[in-house]
Amino acid sequence: MGNKQTIFTDEQLDAYQDCTFFTRKEILRLHGRYHELAPHLVPMDYTNDPDVKIPLALIVNMPELKENPFRNRIVESFSEDGEGNLSFNDFVDMFSVLSEMAPRELKAIYAFKIYDFNTDNFICKEDLEKTLNKLTREELTPEEVNLVCEKAIEEADLDGDNKLSFADFENMISKAPDFLRYL
C-alpha cells in the first residue's frame, strides 16, 4: 500500500486481518466509519489501544442497521457488557460476522444469540413472540402470534422441552433452502 497510515501499527493490522474476514483497506475504512459515528469520542490514533466505547444509540442509527428490526439485539450480542456499547474491536467483529464472507455456521451461532432475547441460551416462546412482533411490526393479533410461535416450536424442537436449544436451531437452519441455488 502506498501511503503510510498512522492509525494502527502494522502488527495490529495483521492481527485484525487474521481475526476477521477483512483486508487492511477495509479495516481502515471501518475505522473511518467508527470515527464518523462519534468524532469527539473516537481518537484517530489507535496505536496504543484506547479503551473507547460508543453507546448503543449511536450505532443503531448507522444506515446499515437502521431498518433492521433486530438492530438492538445485534449490537447487544456483540458488546462485551451485553448493553450494546461497542469498542472498535467489537465493532469490527460484528461486521466481520455479518459480512458475506463469514461461513454459515458462524452466522448461525450469532443468529441464535440475537434471537435469544432473555439470554438464557434457549429460544423460548417469549423470545419467539418478541422476534415475531419485531418482524411484523406488531401487525398480527396476539392470537395469531401465539399460533405461529407454537407451530414454530413444534416444528423445530427435537428434544421435547418446548424450547429451542442451539442444537435444534442449528439443525433447522442447516435445512433452510438456499432459495435460489437450484433455480
Binding site: N89, S96, G160, M172
Partner: protein, 720 residues
C-alpha cells in the same frame, strides 16, 4: 430395553416406533421452575479475558484446540481471538519449516479459490439487474428471471454444440459456393415466412448437404445426427440433474422436516435492506405470508368439519366446473385443427393480397397464442368457485395451464405430421423445410406477441391508470401484476419448440438465444415500468421444481416427436444431408458396417434385446434395494428422534435429583418431609458424558465427586 420407572409423574420409554410419551412434557413443565431457580445459567455476556476454562458457556461446538480452524471462524470476542492468535504464534515457532510452508500454501490456495469463486459469481450475466429486481419486487419475480438466465446459458452451450458439429462441417466442406445475396424474388416478408432468402440460408434443413466430407464413418450426415442428439442429451442431463436436486431439497422439507413456519420466522428477514420503503414492503410481505398460512390452517379446519350435504354439493360443483374446463380445452383443440387444415390448404394459392396470405400462413401460431392468452384467465376465475385452499387453487390452475400449453403444441405437431404424411411425398419439394418453417413461425410469432403485449397493452393500461385513476373500467380489470407462472410457461413453450424443431431448422438454438435476450429486456421493462409489486408471496421453491419438471416434459415430447418423424417419414429425395437414403439411420448402419468385425458385432449386440432386458432387470434390482434402504433409514431416523426426547427427559430428571439433593443440603430439617419423593438420601451419581446444557451456574457449589461434563452434543450410546 423398556425401562419403565414410574417415580412420581414421569415415564421413560425406549420405543420401537415414534411414541414419545406426553408425560415427559408434563414432567418438564412441572419441574422447570424449581430447576431453573436453582441453576439458572445467567446469560452469555462476552468475556474479554480468556481466564475461564475452555468450555465456559460453550453451548455451541467450539473447536478452539483445533489448529486448523481459522481464527476468524471462531465465535468468540475479538480480544479472545487475539489471545488465541498469540498463543498459536508461540506454538508455531516449534513447527519445522516444512510444516509451516505446507500450512501457508494451504491458506494461499484457499484464498485463491475464494477469490476465483467470487470473481466468477460477479461475472454472471445481468447480476445487478436481478439484484435490483429482487429488492423491489421480492424473490418470487426474481425466480422468473433466474430461470430465463438459466435457459440462456443452456442455449448458448447448445449453440456451441450445433455450431461445431452441424454448421462448421457444412461450411468447410461445401461443394458449391454459398451466395448470401438477395435475389429478385426475395422480400422482407421472407424473414417472417421462411421462404426465399431464408430458405436458401443455413437456417433450414435444406441448406445442409453431404459435401466433400465423405468418409465411411466421418461424414456430414453422421455429424448432423450427432449434433442434434448431443444437444438433446446434454439438455436432458442438465435438466434431470436440476430437477432431482430441487426435488430432493423439496422432499426433504416436507413431512417430518417441515420447517416452513420456523423458516418464515427466522430466515425471512433480509439483513441487507437499507431503505425504509423496502423494509416496509418486506415486513408486509412477511405478515401477509404468515396470515396466508394461518388462513390455510383455518380452511383445513373448516374443511374437516363439513357436513355430508355440503360435501356433496361441492363435489357436484367441481365435476361441473371440470366438465366446463374439458369442453373449453376441446374447443381450443378443434380451433387449432381447423386452423392448421385451412392454412395448409390455402398455402399454395397466390391470388390473395400479401397481408392476407401472411395471416393465413400464421394462422396456427395465432390461434395457439390466442388460446394460451385467454384460457388461463378463465381458469383462474373458474377455480375460485371450486372451494379449494389458496395453495391448491394456484396449483390446480398451474396444472391446467401446463396441460393446455403442452397439449396445444402436441396436437399441432400431430396435425402437422398427419398432413405431411398424407400428402404425396414426391410433390413436396422439401417437407423437412416445411416442418422447420412451422417451428420458426411459432417462435417468431411468440416474440411478436410478447412485444405487443408489453408495449401495446400493458404500457397504455399503466399510462391510462395514471392519468385517469378513477376510471371504472380500469378498476374492474384490476392492478397489473406480473403473473410469474404464466410467463414461466411461455419460456417453457419457447424452449420446447426449439428442441422439437432443432432437426429441421438447425439454427433454431441461435434464434432462441436472440429471442431470450429480447424477452429479458422486454419483461424487465414490463416489470419495472408497468407493474406494481404484489403483496402476496409466491411459493418460490416448490414451483421451481415444477417448472424444471415441465421443461423435462417438453424435452421428452421433443424426443417422442423426433423419434416418430425419423422412423415413419422418409427423408425427402431433393434436399438435406440424408437425400437418397430410405431412412435417416442408413448412415449409422453404414458406419457400423465399416467398423472392424468385433466392434461392429459388439455395437449390434448392445442395441439388441439380449442386452436390453438384463439391463432393465439390473436397474429394477438397484431401484428396489435403494427403496428398501430408504425405508430402513426412515425407521432409524424415527428411533433417533425418540432417543433425543428420552435423553432430554433423563437430563431433567438428573437435574431435578441434584436440585432436590442441594435443597436437602441447605435445609436438612425439611429433608424428612421430602424423603418420600426423592430416591434415597445419597446424591445419585450423575451420569457423566451426557450432553448437558444448560450447565447450572458455577456459583452454586458443586459436589466434589461430579466430573465436569463435556459439552459436545454426542448421543450417550456413542460413548465407548
Amino acid at each position: 430395553m423398556a425401562d419403565k420407572q414410574a417415580s412420581g409423574s414421569f415415564l421413560r420409554l425406549m420405543s420401537e416406533e415414534s411414541q414419545a410419551s406426553d408425560l415427559i412434557i408434563v414432567f418438564c413443565d412441572d419441574h422447570q421452575e424449581t430447576i431453573l431457580d436453582q441453576g439458572r445459567c445467567q446469560g452469555a455476556p462476552r468475556r474479554s479475558l480468556g481466564g475461564y476454562s475452555e468450555d465456559e458457556d460453550a453451548w455451541y461446538p467450539t473447536r478452539r484446540w483445533d489448529r486448523n480452524v481459522p481464527l476468524r471462524n471462531l465465535p468468540v470476542s475479538m480480544q479472545e481471538k487475539r489471545d488465541i492468535r498469540d498463543r498459536r504464534n508461540l506454538q508455531r515457532r516449534t513447527i519445522g519449516c516444512w510444516e509451516s510452508w505446507r500450512r501457508s500454501q494451504r491458506t494461499v490456495r484457499r484464498r485463491m479459490l475464494e477469490q476465483m469463486v467470487q470473481a466468477l459469481s460477479a461475472l454472471q450475466l445481468w447480476g445487478r439487474t436481478l439484484h435490483s429486481i429482487e429488492g423491489r419486487f421480492g424473490v418470487s419475480v426474481k425466480v422468473y428471471f433466474v430461470f430465463l438466465r438459466y435457459l440462456v446459458y443452456l442455449n448458448l452451450f447448445n449453440c456451441l454444440l450445433t455450431g461445431a458439429l452441424i454448421q462448421a462441417p457444412v461450411f468447410i466442406f461445401r461443394n458449391n459456393i454459398y451466395s448470401s445475396t438477395f435475389k429478385e424474388n426475395d422480400s422482407y416478408l421472407d424473414f417472417f415466412l421462411g421462404t426465399g432468402f431464408l430458405e436458401r440460408s443455413p437456417v433450414f434443413y435444406g441448406f445442409y448437404t453431404r459435401g466433400s466430407l465423405d468418409g465411411k464413418c466421418l461424414n456430414t450426415p453422421i455429424l448432423f445426427l450427432l449434433g442434434v442428439f448431443s444437444v438433446l442429451i446434454f439438455s436432458l442431463v442438465m435438466l434431470v440433474r436440476r430437477t432431482v436436486n430441487g426435488y430432493k431439497h423439496k422432499w426433504m422439507l416436507s413431512g417430518r422436516y417441515n420447517f416452513s413456519m420456523s423458516f418464515k420466522v427466522f430466515c425471512s428477514w433480509d439483513f441487507c435492506i437499507h431503505e425504509p420503503k423496502s423494509a416496509a414492503f418486506k415486513q408486509s410481505n412477511i405478515r401477509n405470508d404468515l396470515k396466508m398460512d394461518l388462513e390455510e390452517e383455518r380452511f383445513e379446519l373448516l374443511k374437516s368439519q363439513r357436513t355430508l350435504k355440503v360435501r356433496v354439493k361441492i363435489y357436484f360443483l367441481r365435476i361441473l366446473l371440470n366438465t366446463v374446463v374439458v369442453i373449453l380445452l376441446g374447443a381450443a383443440f378443434c380451433l387449432i385443427y381447423i386452423g392448421t387444415k385451412y392454412s395448409h390448404q390455402q398455402k399454395d394459392s397466390k391470388n390473395y393480397p400479401w397481408l392476407y396470405s401472411l395471416l393465413l400462413q400464421y394462422l396456427p401460431p395465432i390461434i395457439i397464442t390466442l388460446v394460451n392468452f385467454m384460457l388461463p384467465h378463465i381458469f383462474r376465475v373458474i377455480v375460485k368457485f371450486e372451494d379449494y385452499s389458496f395453495t391448491s387453487q394456484v396449483n390446480i390452475t398451474l396444472v391446467r395451464c401446463i396441460f393446455l400449453k403442452l397439449a396445444c403444441l402436441a396436437l399441432f405437431l400431430f396435425f402437422l405430421y398427419d398432413t405431411l404424411q398424407k400428402s404425396p411425398q414426391n410433390n413436396q419439394s422439401c417437407w423437412e423445410n416445411q416442418f422447420g418453417k412451422e417451428m420458426y413461425k411459432l417462435l417468431v410469432f411468440d416474440l411478436l406477441a410478447t412485444f405487443t403485449d408489453t408495449f401495446f397493452i400493458m404500457l397504455p393500461k399503466k399510462l391510462l391508470s395514471e392519468m385517469y385513476p378513477e376510471c371504472f373500467l380500469l378498476k374492474v380489470m384490476g392492478r397489473q401484476k406480473f403473473l410469474i407462472q404464466l410467463n414461466v410457461l411461455d419460456l417453457v413453450y419457447t424452449q420446447t419448440v426449439t428442441w422439437v424443431g432443432l432437426f429441421y431448422c438447425p439454427m433454431l438454438t441461435q434464434i432462441c438465444v436472440c429471442k431470450l435476450f429480447a424477452i429479458f429486456y422486454i419483461k424487465k421493462f414490463a416489470v419495472q415500468r408497468c407493474c406494481k409489486p404484489t403483496q402476496r408471496m409466491f411459493r418460490a421453491s416448490t414451483s421451481s421444481v415444477l417448472f424444471h419438471f415441465v421443461l423435462l416434459l417438453g424435452l421428452l415430447m421433443a424426443f417422442v416427436v423426433l423419434g416418430i418423424n425419423l422412423n415413419k417419414l422418409k427423408p425427402s429425395p431433393t434436399c438435406g444431408p440424408f437425400l437418397g437414403s430410405s431412412t435417416v439411420f442408413n448412415v449409422t448402419t453404414m458406419c457400423v458396417d465399416s467398423l472392424p468385425v468385433h466392434v461392429g458385432d459388439f455395437i449390434k449386440f448392445m442395441s439388441s434385446e439380449a442386452f436390453a432386458v438384463p439391463l432393465i432387470v439390473v436397474e429394477i434390482l438397484f431401484l428396489t434395494s435403494s427403496m428398501s434402504l430408504r425405508s430402513a433409514n426412515n425407521k432409524c431416523i424415527e428411533r433417533l428422534k425418540d432417543m433425543l426426547v428420552t435423553c432430554s427427559s433423563d437430563k431433567w430428571y438428573l437435574v431435578k435429583q441434584q436440585a432436590a439433593w442441594l435443597q436437602d443440603q441447605r435445609s436438612p430439617q425439611q429433608s424428612s418431609s421430602r424423603a418420600g419423593s426423592v430416591e434415597g438420601s445419597a446424591p445419585p451419581e450423575p451420569r457423566a458424558h451426557l450432553d448437558f446444557h444448560p450447565l447450572p451456574e458455577r456459583s452454586v457449589s458443586q459436589p466434589c465427586d461430579t466430573e465436569p461434563v463435556p459439552t459436545h452434543s454426542r448421543p450417550p450410546w456413542n460413548e465407548s
